[in-house]
Amino acid sequence: MDRFLQQVADGIVNGSIYALVALALVLIHRTTGLVNFAQGELAMLSTYVAWSLLDSGASMPVAVAVTLAASFAGGALIERVLIRPVESSSPLAIVMITIGLFISVNSLAAWIWTPIGRPLRPLFGFGGDVFELPAGVRLNGQELTIVAILLVVAGALYVFFRLTRIGLLMRAASSNPTSSRLAGVNVGRLLMLGWGLAATMGALAGILVAPKLTLSPSLMLIVLIYGFAAATLGGFDSPLGAVVGGIAVGLAESLAATYVAFVGSDLKLAVAFALILVVLLVRPAGLFGSRTVHRA
């Protein structure tokens, strides 16, 4: 029983990372209707930037703040320069561009920092300390931080979308861009905002997970697939779905690896794949998604 609860706790921790990535994916999908295949690689790049800052002597808060700000700017810039011109093109064209980004960024990171894994410190000083929770569950400080940050981010996004004017305008822009423009809303700037926020969340996910997995150019590919699974399960239109989906995927991965002998540790990713497939076949909108996701 203890082991089971530990697995559940581990699953929730991992799930929080997936949820953060899923939130980034959902954000972009809600604002522009696209799936950003390069999300993971951009997060990885941001994490390397953070590592470099730390390595050259910056304190953790400074490194994180600069990285998040730079990620925001980068995301907004990518939307404006790369995505905006082809927004109305075929899905294939947009897939191509985000894939092109994927490849470039991955190689860029390998070129600048070489493919050797780098160590990244946990976010807070107590990150390495192990905490004893009820029922014999043990988690270290970084893991608790991850869950806490997910809750904070999810809460902040909720407030942002439901209670602020910009959040309302972003929802309007994603619901009907034409009517938004006719109402005087600068849709272009909102798109940049959406991508900037998504990049920031991806960067946060990268910074949080890197200490656990070691920072290397292939860090985020796997996390991205899990993030996709989470977003698919929860519904690409729903931030709540992203959180629930992320936790669910984390739990499924953790429990399946331990309790389903066939899966073992190699095929954990297959769990994500199977989930994606089943959800898309049975209920394409996901658990919480509401609209038809097809864009003409």
């Binding site: 929802r171 309007a172 009907n176 009517s179 423009r181 006719l182």
Partner: protein, 230 residues
């Protein structure tokens, strides 16, 4: 006298397909002008060209100021309020949220709730669940909240039952009486349009073929035969 909205020699289309040719029209302050025409005549293209959604060449002036080529969000702030074909409500947002997109002013929103009690009743409902007529009122209210100088309406009667349509047109007349908002209404329902409007134009295959006071057009033989059915 310079008109509030003056369109001169407007040409518009989609890529190589030309839809509108040499369009000249005017809307004066406080005037309601109708544009009649059959499907495919280019009515929607006309409004889109004026509001900045579509590409066009020629001249569009508001209060004498040239605005052709500016993006739609800019023109909306310059005083053009376009209620598009199909209403264009934000179906995923509530009625209240739809109105809040247009303005921050609580006072203004409450004022339009008074004008349209049915919207007040449904303020927490998702706009997508409203009936066609209610969505039309919502779209008009939302556009009016931006305080436009001229309101462009694209076929407000589409998909609405006759009683609802008459109600919508009655509201438009009231709005003009209250706010002196100028309006350019494209409509297939010529009879209702001519009742409401001061002047009208007839659009056929992308060209203005007739124009004048509505009383005059109502008794014009060509118009009667083609659009009024008698």
């Amino acid at each position: 006298m310079s008109a509030l909205l003056a369109v001169r020699d407007l040409h518009a289309g989609y890529g190589p397909i030309r839809v509108l040719h040499e369009i000249d029209l005017e809307v004066g302050t406080g005037e309601i002008v109708a544009v009649l025409g059959a499907n495919g005549a280019g009515k929607t293209t006309l409004l889109r060209a004026i509001s900045g959604l579509g590409r066009a060449s020629g001249s569009v002036r508001i209060d004498g100021r040239e605005v052709l080529g500016r993006p739609a969000e800019r023109l909306a702030r310059l005083g053009i309020g376009h209620v598009p074909e199909g209403r264009g409500t934000f179906i995923d947002l509530t009625v209240e949220e739809n109105l809040r997109v247009a303005t921050r002013s609580r006072v203004d929103i409450e004022r339009w709730y008074d004008q349209f009690p049915v919207l007040a009743q449904r303020r927490r409902q998702l706009a997508g669940t409203l009936s066609g007529g209610e969505q039309q009122m919502l779209a008009i209210a939302r556009t009016l909240l931006s305080k436009p100088r001229v309101l462009l309406l694209d076929e407000p009667s589409t998909g609405l039952a006759p009683t609802i349509t008459r109600e919508v047109f009655r509201i438009l007349a009231e709005v003009r009486a209250l706010e002196s908002t100028a309006m350019l209404i494209v409509e297939q329902n010529a009879s209702l349009a001519l009742d409401l409007a001061d002047r009208a134009y007839v659009l056929e295959t992308g060209r203005i073929v007739l124009g004048g006071p509505s009383n005059q057009l109502r008794y014009d033989d060509a118009v009667r035969g083609a659009y009024l059915g008698y």
